[in-house]
Subunit: 130 residues, 6 copies
């Protein structure tokens, strides 16, 4: 048995419930994803991760949808299947259309290609870019 059990709301400590409540209120949803239920096995990590994420993902110079697109780009590059599924769903909720999704994928694909070309060809950084 390697995977961790999930901490369901009904059996959670007050400390964990407080974070779950804040997640549900902030995101206007009535349940938390498996990710949080697993992290909740380490209540300090649950609290720290949620508070950092909440701060980072709040609207600022970038709108919430753009932040989700960046999140997906990182998740695809890292190859995290869970994260791709959950942040693609989150982006849809924030208004990602099919057209935006396709453009996102196309940019990720091209960037991955030119990243490898620049690395493989050992291109030196232009003085003007330093």
């Amino acid at each position: 048995m390697a995977a961790m059990r999930m901490v369901e709301y009904a059996y959670a400590s007050p400390e964990v419930r407080a974070v779950y409540d804040d997640i549900m209120t902030t995101r206007k949803v009535d349940a938390v994803n498996n990710f949080w239920k697993v992290i909740a096995n380490d209540p300090a990590a649950l609290k720290r991760t949620w508070e950092s994420l909440k701060q980072v993902m709040q609207p600022g110079a970038l709108d919430p949808l753009t932040k989700e697109l960046i999140y997906i780009a990182v998740s695809v590059s890292t190859g995290c299947g869970y994260c791709i599924a959950s942040h693609t769903a989150a982006a849809r909720k924030r208004g990602m259309t099919d057209e935006i999704f396709h453009e996102l994928m196309a940019v990720i694909g091209m960037a991955s290609e030119t990243n490898r070309l620049a690395t493989g060809y050992q291109v030196e950084i232009d003085p003007s870019l330093k």
Copy 2:
């Protein structure tokens, strides 16, 4: 000797010059970056890569600045130093402020952290996310 020489405009074939001209016209700049000068050793790759990039990066459902931010997110995740330098410069030209840059980095950082947590904890995808 491992790195490739760079193909300077003055010594380039008409085929390569045509691509260089199109890059400079499209981007409103008067020189091409080292990346293109190195790829130009393979003229077919130069033409194919530029035409794909031009098509992918043109304004569409996403604006050019957002596309550059996604490009940076991928480049940081891949660890391509050249690409980070060149696309950070490109994003600046398209209006990236310090505030946007900081938010971009913060999202990339958080996504990288939660990507690893989801992977390491072997979180199963929620039925609602499938």
Copy 3:
């Protein structure tokens, strides 16, 4: 058909059986994992990989549990699902508690975040660190 069949002990050559026997004796288990049964299709690779692994994972300046934690850290960073499952189980056998597992995950998460920040912000190495 892309995946390789597994070489079961009952049908294995004497050469392969000798490695399986050594794995089982060394690890005090009565069966080998699927990983070895698949690698066994290439008997030279089976022998080479096992002998290197045995040498590397033996107790030394670092104890076996610490080595397993490092193994997990690499496997999570690489995104190898099989390796995460098998080395998490191995670490449990060597005494990894839930508390250790949570701290391991927290360090992996933070390292992944600061790795990307250092890369994205293009931080120069301090002279004192060279």
Copy 4:
């Protein structure tokens, strides 16, 4: 100009200085690394990152040296040159001998090899490991 300037103590805001002071006190050093001086351009990120890092790296079920070894393992897997240099130095301060460093590298190397073998051979997870 792509890289960010560094925020030196002498010119830092009281908010940034408070974090710098805490870093120096906690680590018993008399200066902060370039990493922090660059992140300090985003004071909220500086504070959030440091407080998370401080919490995660404090002694717990794992001792500080083991945590640094895990940090190095992640940094090598990510390919973050800055992070490898800074955390190798930090591990040295916490007692990493040459022998420990060599064993760390050997485990990282073997894990990277078997990660790819398990992935490339598409090994299915053993029922006993689920």
Copy 5:
């Protein structure tokens, strides 16, 4: 619902069918893989990706089997399960024997190991290699 529906030939636009026809003719197969059916949701991406791939994978200084082996090496390093499955099948069709597959995996494994050793030990590039 996160994943995209697949565009089946029977319901595809003439533009998409033309690409499907070219894939089937070029590869001498009577159906296209799921990859293409999903990308086909973005017809411009389908056409661009297929035309680039066709050009890159055609026989040249390297034969088609060698190109497939390189494709597998990249896919294993990236950790793309779909790509490993599809390109392993493609390589089999182009003559990859079990012996070749084992040697391919062994090289990928060793390269992954020495890559991390060179990175972790921070080996400086020899002047003769520059």
Copy 6:
């Protein structure tokens, strides 16, 4: 001081010299690369790594040049600058022409792009590929 000193032949132990001699004889060169001089700080690792590498890279079902091309593909995907430089040089010695190098880079680039597309679009593996 983070990087390891290099073990020069003149000051090496007989055990290390024996490996250096074998490397030079096998490769028909009169000096070993920095990689080996750094790994030599851990003589057991030097011997184990060299013997595995020698076995893996010997001519077999795949010729030495093809093996070097695969090595480069992995090194580019991992982003190991040292490894790209050293294996590009090694491939040149084994007959890699500019044309081969360009085709190698083009395949690596395309594979990196389609890897991300398949991952980001969450393409399911075709039953025929399992």
